[in-house]
């Protein structure tokens, strides 16, 4: 597998950050860019591949609940780079058996396909806006598959305790302000696992818009994983809680799984 210079660079950064982190309290503080690169890999690239059963609970301001239940599989083509996602919907009934395939490329638009089982149709989905809501939830596509750290500038603000953990607080500002719906993001990145414990997104007027919190972090096969995630839109009062169950890493998922064949006939292991 060919590694681009950029990916290698990202890896070196992450590796450097790990070494620095292991160097003890006297070690030099990693830069904000290093922290965010490490956090990106820890959150979106653990293992060579991953599968999980995800239950999303969408709650409106007046307490009305909707459920989305899906099986998600991911396979990395390049660490920190290209990835493929396969999603099978179990619930609600009107989308049951639908499958969704994403080929994610850093630096350009994803390829997305949706399979509509009622008419046996595989359809390409326009994917130029990664800030769109995923399945009506408060999570955007980027919240699920990751926003490239290179798209923002980062500033280490301070260190702070979040519950029992110590976190770096990093402020990120989009380089291309017109391309996103937020003007500023504050992340609390766990010093031990590099996972984001909390994120605040501010809208273009500078008002707090959405808040992400890692409600539960677990170690699965040696990989620290946020198994319960909450995204709250503080402006509309709508929130989404995503719970990851049956998380498995390094299952040697076949490349075949991320193809039109699997869209039309998802393998039994992903449908259960």
């Amino acid at each position: 597998m060919a590694l681009t210079g950029r990916t290698t660079g990202l890896r070196a950064l992450a590796l450097g950050a790990v070494l620095l982190g292991a160097g003890g309290p006297e070690a030099a503080q990693p830069s904000a860019v290093e922290i965010m690169a490490r956090s990106h890999l820890a959150m979106f690239y653990p293992g060579e591949d991953m599968r999980a059963r995800v239950t999303m609970r969408l709650v409106s301001r007046d307490g009305k609940e909707r459920l989305r239940e899906l099986t998600m599989a991911r396979r990395d083509i390049q660490e920190g780079g290209e990835q493929r996602y396969f999603i099978y919907f179990h619930r609600p009934p009107d989308v049951r058996d639908m499958t969704f395939l994403v080929w994610k490329y850093p630096g350009r638009d994803d390829d997305r396909w949706l399979y509509v089982p009622a008419i046996k149709l595989v359809r390409r989905i326009a994917a130029n806006d990664k800030r769109s809501s995923f399945a009506g939830s408060d999570f955007s596509y980027e919240d699920i598959s990751g926003r490239e750290p290179e798209e923002d500038t980062h500033k280490l603000v301070r260190e702070e305790r979040v519950g029992a953990r110590t976190a770096w607080v990093v402020e990120s500002t989009p380089k291309d302000a017109g391309s996103v719906d937020f003007s500023r993001k504050i992340s609390w990145v766990d010093k031990a696992t590099a996972l984001p414990l909390k994120e605040e997104y501010y809208d273009r007027r500078g008002e707090l818009a959405r808040v992400f919190t890692a409600e539960e972090v677990r170690e699965v096969q040696g990989f620290w994983t946020v198994t319960k995630r909450l995204m709250k839109n503080v402006q509309t009062g709508h929130s989404t809680e995503a719970v990851l169950a049956d998380v498995r890493y390094n299952r040697k998922l076949a490349p075949d799984l991320f193809s039109e064949r699997a869209l039309r006939a998802p393998p039994a292991e992903l449908v259960r």
Partner: protein, 424 residues
């Protein structure tokens, strides 16, 4: 009147068998799914002329008024799966109860081969409501009447085998039992242009289920430089009948031979999704173009573009053209004073879709028009997902244009429809 078609019995049998099978292998969750649906469509425009064969279309205020119960079972194992979707339909307008096996097939999966046997929906091509290589049967009555779009596609009793090698796939389809398109017909509740309206005696000759009459299709496809590319070939029949007058007089409806060769490509470009499709319709019993009853061979092309302009707002458009071969020969078959179709039919379509309220409210409109033949269709629709299980849809189907044109003939069926569905 209660009528139970052979399809009804096969449905009942399949559902019972699968219920028994599902019960035997009961999993932790109920393996039974489906929905209850009530649908109604009120005629907005009265047909302006009512030949005797279309009296019902003039008398009936509702083009649709029905309830449906759908049951689906789909047990599956590592290398096999069975899908059965049966419906019981209570047609309040026609006073009928009918059963329908929408789909019922067995899937077998081998390392490089997928086999599907039974009644199945097959969808080819990349057009949005413009079908070039998708030659499989369609229910235009359901579409015109305001039923959900999935009912436009009918199942085929077929064997389908798809082989996969190194990223390239080949699907072969054999359809031994011919299933025609469902079109407005004499005696039905939909108005349409009937050049032979004076002749009430009619018979339909369907291709007999002999081996030589088996429809065959092949689709070769792969991802090429980020584009989904397909090649298609089909040998079979037109799914809409041609008509010729026999002594009596009697109108004989039949399905002329048709071969189709085509290609399509779809990929991400220009910040959206770009689609191309082409097909050559080889009308085998009228290659000279001199048979007045049978369509001439034609070339059909389509280009489409779709883009998410802002989050949850998608805009799409298509241009399509259908060019008749041997137009001179066609013109020669038309008597003086008879209407003539132009050599090329141009069609433009637009689709806007807006999702609101966390994607629970979908506002959409699909519009189609032929700038040179002057006919058009517009279908605005609002669908609200009240809960995860319950949805409500209201919309309009409006047709217009010259009376003899493809969509203009349906003007008198223009309707306001409402559909409520409870899914489980």
């Amino acid at each position: 009147m209660v009528r139970a078609s052979p399809r009804a019995w096969s449905t009942a049998l399949a559902v019972l068998t699968l219920l028994a099978a599902g019960g035997a292998g009961a999993a932790e969750e109920l393996p039974l799914h489906g929905f209850l649906q009530a649908a109604s469509a009120y005629r907005l425009i009265r047909p302006d002329r009512c030949p005797r064969t279309q009296r019902l279309a003039c008398d009936e205020s509702f083009v649709l008024g029905e309830s449906r119960a759908r049951l689906e079972v789909d047990p599956r194992g590592e290398r096999w799966g069975v899908v059965a979707k049966g419906e019981l339909i209570l047609d309040a307008v026609g006073g009928e109860v009918e059963g329908d096996l929408r789909e019922g097939y067995l899937d077998l999966t081998f390392p490089a081969l997928d086999l599907r046997v039974g009644r199945q929906v097959i969808t080819w091509g990349v057009g949005d409501l413009i079908f070039i290589n998708d030659v499989f049967p369609k229910d235009w009555v359901a579409f015109i009447s305001g039923l959900p779009l999935e009912y436009l596609k009918k199942g085929s009793d077929a064997v389908s085998a798809t082989g996969h090698w190194a990223g390239t796939s080949l699907q072969l389809v054999l359809i031994p039992r011919f299933e025609a398109d469902t079109l407005p017909e004499a005696g039905g509740r939909l108005a349409f242009h009937d050049p032979m309206a004076a002749i009430e005696a009619r018979r339909t000759d369907e291709p007999s289920p002999a081996l030589a009459r088996t429809e065959a299709g092949a689709r070769l496809f792969r991802n090429l430089l980020g584009w989904d590319v397909s090649l298609y070939a089909y040998r079979g029949f037109f799914h809409a009948p041609a008509g010729e007058v026999e002594p009596g007089p009697r109108l004989r409806l039949f399905f002329p031979r048709l071969d189709v060769y085509g290609a399509s490509a779809q990929g991400a470009a220009l910040g959206g999704v770009v689609s191309f499709e082409a097909g050559y319709y080889d009308s085998r019993s009228d290659r000279s173009g001199r048979d007045p009853a049978v369509d001439n061979p034609s070339v059909r092309l389509l280009a489409g573009y779709q883009r998410e302009v802002v989050p949850d707002f998608t805009v799409g458009g298509q241009y399509s053209v259908q060019v008749m071969e041997d137009h001179d020969a066609y013109v020669a078959t038309r008597g003086p004073g008879m209407p003539r179709r132009p050599a090329a039919r141009h069609v433009l379509t637009a689709r806007l879709t807006r999702l609101l309220l966390n994607q629970t409210l979908r506002l959409g409109v699909f519009a189609l028009a032929s700038p040179n033949e002057g006919d058009w269709y517009a279908g605005p629709e609002a669908r609200y997902q009240v809960t995860d299980a319950l949805s409500a849809t209201v919309g309009l189907n409006v047709f217009g244009g010259p009376r003899r044109s493809e969509y203009g003939q349906f003007e008198g069926n223009s309707n306001l429809y409402a559909v409520v569905r409870y899914a489980f």
